[in-house]
């Protein structure tokens, strides 16, 4: 039963992953990502992490992919023009490196299976919202609190980078003096 669910959804996740990197249009990549994220949600369910599976659907497949789609729409409003392709030698090199890494990973996995016993059954109640919440507020209290500080810093950073014009604010008097000499880069306001 578990295998019957695992194989198709693992294959779907892989296919989606390939789709993300292989498709030329950003919008196709984003939709492939949706496939990856939803298939992963099923895999989480199989692992007994029901709460995480639900969060995966709501937050990743729901909110984040929608956000991606909005950004793509805003950036390529007309047609969703294809992304530029990488330089050929780099692509060849990257393919070789990825293949080597995959081989290393595969051999590690195979040899681990042969020697180690990794079948640990989860405890009763594992993966429920209550269990996740309990862990979050006891064992992982400090990381949880830190995450809130990170979000705050992220907001400050986003405001700094995105707000206002592109540029430095120029003093009125020195701008007048400079304009006679050369067009200032800083004066390129939107």
């Amino acid at each position: 039963m578990e295998l019957a669910l695992f194989i198709p959804f693992a294959a779907l996740a892989l296919a989606g992953g390939l789709g993300v990197i292989a498709s030329g249009r950003a919008i196709h990549s984003a939709l492939s990502l949706l496939l990856v994220l939803s298939s992963l949600a099923v895999l989480y369910l199989l692992l007994g992490a029901q709460f995480i599976a639900v969060l995966q659907v709501i937050i990743y497949a729901g909110a984040i992919v929608v956000l991606f789609l909005f950004v793509i729409m805003l950036l390529h409003m007309a047609t969703g023009e294809p992304a530029a392709r990488g330089v050929r030698p780099w692509r060849a090199g990257a393919t070789v490196a990825a293949a080597l890494f995959f081989a290393a990973l595969l051999s590690a996995v195979i040899r681990t299976r042969a020697t180690a016993d990794l079948g640990v059954a989860p405890a009763v109640g594992f993966g429920t919202a209550e269990a996740v919440g309990r862990t979050l507020f006891t064992r992982f209290l400090l990381p949880f609190e830190l995450a809130s500080v990170i979000l705050l810093v992220g907001i400050i950073g986003a405001v700094v980078l995105a707000k206002g014009s592109l540029t430095l604010r120029v003093h009125a008097e020195s701008r007048a003096a400079d304009e006679a000499e050369e067009p200032r880069e800083e004066a390129l306001t939107r």
């Binding site: 681990t112 209290l141 990381p143 990170i150 950073g157 206002g164 604010r169 003096a177 400079d178």
Partner: protein, 490 residues
């Protein structure tokens, strides 16, 4: 619930977080022309943060002491890096205040969001403190992301400058990729041992099959290597240092590098070493490659910030000798001493670059010609920092290199080749460091006008200069302190 006494051991972190929030508030009430006030409040708050940190230094020396269910270490090692992070942040804020004002005077403009700049620096300082003390993979991941996130923004802070934008974007893309790879390594380590706590992993890691552990370590090294700008994860370094505001480049070169080494050492020494995996050869190899690549690419550089970036890569190689020599009588101590001394002379060199850039609008080494006549004090300090970066006595750099080489020799005869590589590289580096001194003292100035030195930046410079000399002449207090901090394993 964790006991309330756990919170008492977190006072420096809580203080820094509160300081960041206070700065945001202060920034609201300060006029556009007086944003330096925010900087002064930040400096005051950071100096006060040294007080509870000092209290911890006396209270907790037992290695492996953790709070919050084993997720956060409060041992001497963590305290050492708290000092380092707070001092580095303070000095960088001092330098930034005049950097922005002086560049603003030259360009007739003011930096936007100057208040937020100091706030972000303080938060980054908090992130560095957390990185160095994390004893749980999840906290390690979060604190590294924390520091990265603020660093991306800080690198791209000069929004009107395309180079700064490029620096921010490049740093972000490299950083995101490196983090993703590193998290994969974390997840493998968690899957293999069933725990995210480094000290629990240490108990179980001996039963983990070696191939899987090797893959996990290699993946994690990609993330740590990015933070410490180790070859082959160094490509971002010159572009980011060149484009970022110079005080930020200084901060990246010192702060995130030191915290990156703290994390690397804690993960490798605590969680990986008990497995018996031969990580020393791997680290030693990376160390040698970093030294060579950094030094050889630094030779042709004309831009002082790019030159310092490559020098920073080669110094990462030197410090990695200390990681390879971990476990000996000097290994850990040598690494701590090197990082502490390195902080002062690297910050100093970057601060001078910042001052020259703000005053002359140039980063090119040929423009340093005749600096000995235009600003004798600056030229003297720069010469001191360059000698210290090379490792010539009586500066702190000599003493740091001496300790780290001694560590490798003492640890194992198998590391002797690495010491030889280090010595050869010190000689290579002499060429490009002394080239700066030659330009300043022997070449005639193009424009004999004196260079104004802003008061606050000058203070930061003299502090770094004095520390560079003092640590070289009288290192005993630092040695004692680093010895106490160096014990890492229970």
């Amino acid at each position: 619930m964790p006991p309330a006494s756990d919170l008492a051991l977190l006072v420096p972190e809580l203080w820094l977080a509160a300081l960041g929030l206070v700065l945001l508030g202060v920034d609201l009430f300060v006029g556009e022309q007086n944003k330096r006030t925010v900087g002064w409040v930040a400096v005051g708050g950071l100096l006060l943060a040294l007080v509870p940190t000092w209290g911890l230094a006396g209270a907790v020396h037992r290695p492996g002491t953790t709070v919050f269910f084993g997720s956060y270490a409060v041992d001497g090692f963590a305290v050492f890096f708290k000092f380092l992070a707070i001092i580095a942040t303070t000095l960088v804020i001092l330098a930034s205040m005049d950097y922005f004002r002086a560049s603003g005077d030259r360009q007739g403009s003011t930096q936007r969001f100057e208040g937020e700049f100091y706030t972000l620096l303080v938060f980054t300082g908090l992130g560095l403190v957390l990185m160095a003390a994390s004893a749980d993979l999840i906290l390690v991941a979060l604190s590294i992301e924390f520091v990265s996130l603020t660093s991306y923004v800080l690198a791209a802070y000069l929004k009107g400058n395309p180079k700064s934008n490029e620096a921010g974007l490049k740093y972000f893309l490299f950083g995101a990729a490196a983090s993703a790879v590193m998290f994969y390594g974390f997840s493998l380590l968690y899957g293999l041992t069933g725990s995210t706590s480094l000290y629990v992993i240490a108990e179980k890691v001996a039963t983990v099959p070696a191939p899987a552990l090797t893959v996990s370590l290699a993946l994690m090294l990609a993330g740590f290597g990015f933070k410490i700008s180790m070859v082959p994860f160094h490509q971002w370094t010159p572009d980011v240092y060149e484009g970022a505001p110079t005080p930020v480049a200084a901060f990246l070169s010192v702060g995130s590098k030191a915290a990156g080494f703290a994390v690397l050492l804690r993960v490798v020494a605590v969680a990986i070493a008990p497995s018996g995996l031969d990580y020393v050869t791997l680290i030693a190899g990376l160390s040698a490659v970093s030294m060579f690549v950094g030094n050889l690419l630094a030779l042709p550089q004309r831009n002082i910030k790019r030159m310092l970036a490559y020098s920073s890569i080669s110094h990462a190689g030197f410090i990695l000798i200390g990681v390879a020599a971990f476990g000996g009588a000097f290994g850990n101590t040598g690494l701590l001493i090197y990082l502490f001394a390195y902080m002062f002379f690297t910050l100093g060199a970057f601060f001078i670059a910042a001052l020259i850039e703000a005053r002359l609008g140039s980063d090119d080494i040929p423009d340093y010609a005749g600096l000995s006549q235009r600003a004798p004090g600056l030229a003297f300090l720069m010469a001191l920092f360059m000698l210290s970066l090379t490792g010539i006595p009586p500066t702190a750099g000599f003493f740091a290199k001496f300790y780290i080489f001694a560590a490798a020799i003492e640890r194992s005869p198998a590391l002797l080749w690495l010491v030889a590589v280090g010595v050869v590289n010190s000689v290579i580096s002499l060429y490009y460091y002394v080239n700066v001194i030659r330009t300043m003292y022997l070449l005639p100035p193009q424009d004999p006008a004196r260079i104004q030195e802003p008061a606050v930046l000058r203070t930061a410079l003299w502090v770094t200069g004095a520390a560079t000399l003092l640590l070289g002449l009288y290192p005993q207090p630092l040695i004692t302190f680093a010895r106490a901090a160096a014990l890492l394993l229970p």
